[in-house]
């Protein structure tokens, strides 16, 4: 630019801004722009299939959502599903990771086999479980019913067990991933600290509780956040196994939003649900951060 002379600091600042600009632009275009669009739509009555002007409706979409019994049930179900599924995955995943920690050929083979569920698409997992659990001709469901192990209508059609069954399916599919993340965390622990603890005569439980667990917290945090964000958006397996039923027993937020957005094409109402979901996921993540920080402080101070 002729006529303007910049000093060293200003030039360096400009250089840094120019370096950062593409990333910022990318974030604005890919993340903030669609998100703000969604947020803006959530205050309107925008309906794809209805020609005509889009009207501002304020918080009406949100009020409707909280007043709708199906949505209320979906909110509760989504939280129950996420907390139960991720909690179980964390416990089982930690157990598996500890078992697979020592390096042996057997463990390596186990690890490879264990990863199979993750590679199957959730839609297919849902279909497979639905076929197996079918109480009239399913390979597991039929015998479970005949031997009195399942309700007469089968697990997926029982109001009290359908959501629990979906949780079990999710745990089956995603525990290996959690185990893998935690195993990577375990493998990266400094061996000298562990050996020192062993030499100092710390018991197995003491070593786990005082040394391994605190050092594993970052990996646990990663698994928790990744899995809960994913579990909160559960859709595929509900879609193929229960359709949100029986009644509203497995109605979850993503399924509810997809129906309103992609079947009824009420973009305003669907955006309100999506925005609410985003807030919930953000809240969950923040609470995990606080939880892990608290745990770090507690475990580290001993």
């Amino acid at each position: 630019m002729p006529g303007i002379r910049l000093g060293f600091t200003a030039r360096r600042r400009l250089f840094l801004v120019m370096i950062g600009l593409p990333a910022v632009l990318y974030m604005v275009l890919v993340a903030f722009w669609p998100l703000s669009q969604g947020l803006a739509y959530s205050f309107t009555d925008y309906t794809l299939t209805r020609p005509g002007p889009v009207n501002w409706v304020g918080l009406e979409n949100y009020a409707d959502m909280f007043a709708d019994p199906a949505a209320q049930r979906a909110i509760v179900n989504t939280f129950v599903f996420t907390l139960a599924a991720v909690g179980l995955q964390l416990l089982a995943g930690l157990g598996l990771a500890l078992l697979l920690w020592p390096d042996s050929r057997f463990n390596r083979i186990c690890l490879a086999l264990m990863l199979i569920p993750i590679t199957v698409t959730p839609l297919a997992v849902g279909l497979i479980f639905r076929a197996m659990l079918e109480p009239d001709f399913g390979i597991l469901g039929y015998w479970a019913r005949v031997w009195g192990l399942s309700p007469a209508r089968g697990y997926l059609a029982d109001e009290n067990l359908a959501l629990a069954t979906l949780i079990v399916i999710d745990v089956w599919e995603w525990t290996p991933l959690v185990a893998l993340i935690l195993l990577a965390g375990l493998k990266s622990l400094p061996t000298d600290v562990l050996e020192a603890a062993e030499v100092d005569g710390a018991s197995r439980f003491q070593r786990f509780h005082r040394i391994i667990l605190p050092m594993l917290l970052p990996a646990i945090f990663l698994a928790l956040v990744m899995r809960s964000m994913d579990a909160f958006k559960i859709y595929d397996s509900v879609f193929v196994t229960t359709g949100g039923g029986p009644d509203n027993a497995t109605n979850v937020l993503m399924f509810h939003a997809a129906k309103i957005g992609l079947e009824f094409f009420q973009i305003g109402a669907a955006s309100a649900i999506s925005t609410f979901m985003l807030a919930c996921v953000g809240l969950l993540s923040v609470s995990f951060v606080l939880m892990i920080r608290h745990a770090e402080r507690r475990l580290g101070s001993r």
């Binding site: 794809l48 299939t49 209805r50 020609p51 199906a70 079918e134 109480p135 009239d136 001709f137 399913g138 469901g141 019913r145 007469a152 209508r153 089968g154 997926l156 059609a157 109001e159 229960t242 359709g243 949100g244 039923g245 029986p246 009644d247 509203n248 129906k259 992609l262 079947e263 009824f264 094409f265």
Partner: protein, 423 residues
């Protein structure tokens, strides 16, 4: 610059001429894209489309999609005017939504212009008006008419000394008599799964009993006494005569139950019939009978029909519209319907095909198709813009009644109150 562009134009024109000359095409070379429902007709249509391209130069890419995917993609394309799809298959129940939004072009002028070529009189009136005609506007052309019929196990009925049901009362009696739970045989099955499966099946039976979702004024009459009574019968049938898992059945599961031999009778769309005779997946080969869907005693003849029309994207230009219309005329012709039947896929819109003696001999159930289409009822599922919401309300209400969390009248009262708000 100017010259070289002209040169390029001349070159492309020459090559187009050369291509046209080489394959003796009559029409302009063009590629259309069609969004197609993943029903049995889809793969056959994709296989036949190249033969149309050979003759006319119009290539049609058939993009086969699942039901929800088809609806969302086509709607997004049509609303956004992105012109990804030139034509699409349109479910009979989307008519109201599509007409209101003006997604597809009005076909009446083209149909009048080419009336002789498309042999309009050969098309069953119920298919012509039901599939794609909304309040006088033809927004899709009838391509595949499905007929609701009763499939029953001849062996089980004979063994029990029962006649195939003529009325709904017969159906209920037979369902109860044929149920033998200890031996895993059930007298009847229907969809119980929350959402579209249970809503659509109940609406079918409800219409056969004389019920209706809309009143004579075109507004919801979901909680009428007839509807509540029919839902009570439906629930009791589930409890007494359906397989225990039927409350979570969708179409696929119900057909599977029938093919596995545990169900004595159920109502189906004609498109599924061939799968019963496929020994690789069916245990009931040669034991199935197909008859008219029973109605309540004394009711006028009324048989549910459904199916798919072909519509043309309103956002595409005149040239592509004309090409798409040419493809529709071919795809919905009697000649192509016969080729569908060679692949065991029945898309019945034409009298000449259904009444062809040679085909009748091969497919005895065609007499049932003819009678049903002649008295077809395309509106037992209301084809109105609010249909998706009404289907969803019924899908939850009826499922709640079947699993015992709500009583029929209360569930329908609740659905009625919510449906009324949509109008």
């Amino acid at each position: 610059m100017q010259t070289s562009r002209r040169g390029a134009l001349a070159l492309s024109a020459l090559s187009a001429l050369a291509a046209g000359g080489a394959s003796a095409q009559t029409g302009p070379a063009m590629t259309l894209t069609m969004a197609c429902m993943n029903d049995p007709f889809a793969t056959v249509l994709a296989r036949l489309a190249p033969s149309y391209a050979e003759r006319t130069g119009v290539r049609v890419n058939v993009d086969i999609l699942s039901y929800p995917e088809l609806l969302s993609r086509v709607t997004a394309d049509f609303v956004g005017r992105t012109r990804n799809y030139d034509l699409c298959t349109m479910d009979i129940v989307w008519a109201g939504q599509f007409a209101e939004a003006g997604h597809t072009i009005e076909l009446s002028p083209l149909m009048q212009r080419d009336a002789a070529e498309i042999a309009v009189d050969d098309i069953y009136q119920a298919a012509l008006l039901g599939i794609g005609n909304f309040r006088g506007r033809q927004i899709a052309f009838p391509f595949a008419a499905y007929v609701n019929v009763l499939a029953f196990r001849r062996d089980l009925f004979e063994r029990a000394g029962l006649q195939p049901p003529q009325t709904m009362a017969d159906l209920v009696t037979a369902a109860q008599r044929l149920t033998d739970a200890p031996n895993n045989i059930y007298g009847w099955a229907a969809n119980g799964r929350r959402g579209a499966p249970v809503a659509q099946d109940w609406m079918t039976y409800n219409a056969q009993i004389g019920g209706s979702i809309l009143g004579p004024d075109g507004r919801p009459a979901i909680n009428s006494a007839t509807n509540a009574r029919s839902l009570t019968v439906y629930r009791d049938l589930f409890r007494m005569a359906a397989p225990p898992g039927a409350v979570n059945y969708d179409w696929a599961a119900r057909h599977e139950a029938f093919r596995q031999g545990i169900v004595a009778q159920h109502q189906i769309w004609t498109i599924s019939i061939p799968s019963y005779e496929n020994p690789e997946i069916s245990r009931i080969v040669g034991r199935t009978g197909i008859i008219l869907a029973p109605t309540a005693e004394g009711m006028p003849k009324r048989y549910g029909i459904g199916g798919w029309g072909l519509g043309i994207n309103a956002a595409i230009d005149e040239r592509r519209r004309e090409a798409a219309w040419g493809f529709i005329k071919w795809a919905a012709s009697a000649e192509v319907q016969r080729r569908f039947l060679d692949a065991n896929v029945g898309v019945f819109t034409r009298r000449s095909v259904v009444n062809d003696p040679a085909l009748r001999a091969r497919f005895p159930f065609f007499s049932v198709v003819d009678e049903s289409l002649a008295n077809g009822d395309a509106d037992f599922r209301p084809r109105i813009p609010q249909y998706p919401q009404i289907q969803d309300l019924l899908g939850t209400a009826v499922n709640a009644v079947l699993v015992g969390t709500a009583d029929p009248q209360r569930a329908l009262d609740d659905a009625q109150a919510r449906a009324a708000r949509l109008f």
